[in-house]
Amino acid sequence: MSTQTKTIAIVSQKGGVGKTTHAIHLAAAAELQGEIALIIDADPQASACEWSSWRDGAPPEVIDSAPARIAAKVELASQQGASFITIDTPPHSDSTAAAAVEVSDLVLIPCRPSAFDLAAMRTSLRLVELFNREAWVLLTAGPPNAPRICEDARELVREIGGRVCPITLPERAIHRHASADGRTVCEVEPAGKAAQEVSQLYNWTCEQLNMSTSKNVEMLA
C-alpha cells in the first residue's frame, strides 16, 4: 500500500452515533481539499452507498465491502490512486470493526455523551488496543448548547484511559437534511456551524496523520 494513502476506520459498537455521517463528511472534506477520497461502506445497511446513489455518484466515491475484503480493497484502491480512505463499519460486528481497524492509520470512535454509549465505547477501545492502533473518541450528537455534558463525558473517557478528540460534533438538524438530500453540510451551508465543525475535524485528522490540510493550496504554490 502506498504510504501516501491514509485510512481512517470509524468504529463503534453502538448504532446511531454518526459513523456513516462522519465517514461521509471526512471523505467529502478531503475531496474538497484535493485528495482522491474513497468511502468503503462495510455496513450491510449500506447507508453510505445509498447516500452516494442519491447524489448520482458525485465524489467522494463509495464502494461496499465484505469484512474479509476490506484489506484487499484498501490496497487496490491505494494502487488506483486513492489518497484518503474512510471505512464505515456496522455496529455489533467485531469482525468487521477488527478488519477495518487492522488496515487503518487512525481510528475514530464516535460516541454520544450518554452512559450507554460510553459503556459501548469501552468495548471499541479494547478492540483497537488489540491491534495497537491510534484511536480517538469523537464526542457526537450532544446538545449544542450544553458544553458541560460533553466535558463530563470527556472526563469519563479519560478516566478509562481513552483519548478524546478535541473537536466535538453536536447534534445539528442540518446533518439530517443534508444526508437525506444526498449532500454534505458543507455543500448545503458552507458557512454554517456544522460545516465549520466538519472542517475543524478534517484539519485535526490531517494533523494526526501528518497530512497537509490542502493539496489544492500545495498545487497552486
Partner: protein, 84 residues
C-alpha cells in the same frame, strides 16, 4: 467517471428480461438450474407477497432478490458474499 467501481462487491442483479431469456433444455432442466441447488422455505402469505412485490417494483426476478438478500445476510454475519 467512477475510479473505484471495479472494487465494489455488488454485482448487478439480473433483470426480469434477463431471467426470461433462459429457455428450457430438451431434457426438461432449464439451463438456469443446471449445476445449481434449490434453497426453499415456508413463509407467511404476507412475506411471499412482499417479496414478489419488491422484486417486481425493482425490475428483478424473485431469484435475483433472494440472491441479494442472501449476500446481505452473509455480510451481516461476517461472511463473504457469494453473489450467484
Amino acid at each position: 467517471m467512477s475510479r473505484f467501481a471495479n472494487l465494489s462487491d455488488r454485482a448487478e442483479p439480473p433483470t426480469i428480461d434477463e431471467a426470461k431469456e433462459s429457455k428450457p433444455e430438451l431434457d426438461g432442466t432449464p439451463p438456469s438450474r443446471v449445476g445449481r441447488k434449490a434453497i426453499a422455505g415456508y413463509f407467511s402469505p404476507e412475506m411471499s407477497l412482499a417479496m414478489h412485490t419488491c422484486a417486481r417494483r425493482n425490475g428483478m426476478s424473485l431469484q435475483g432478490l433472494m440472491a441479494e438478500a442472501f449476500d446481505d445476510v452473509l455480510r451481516k454475519y461476517g461472511e463473504s458474499p457469494v453473489g450467484r
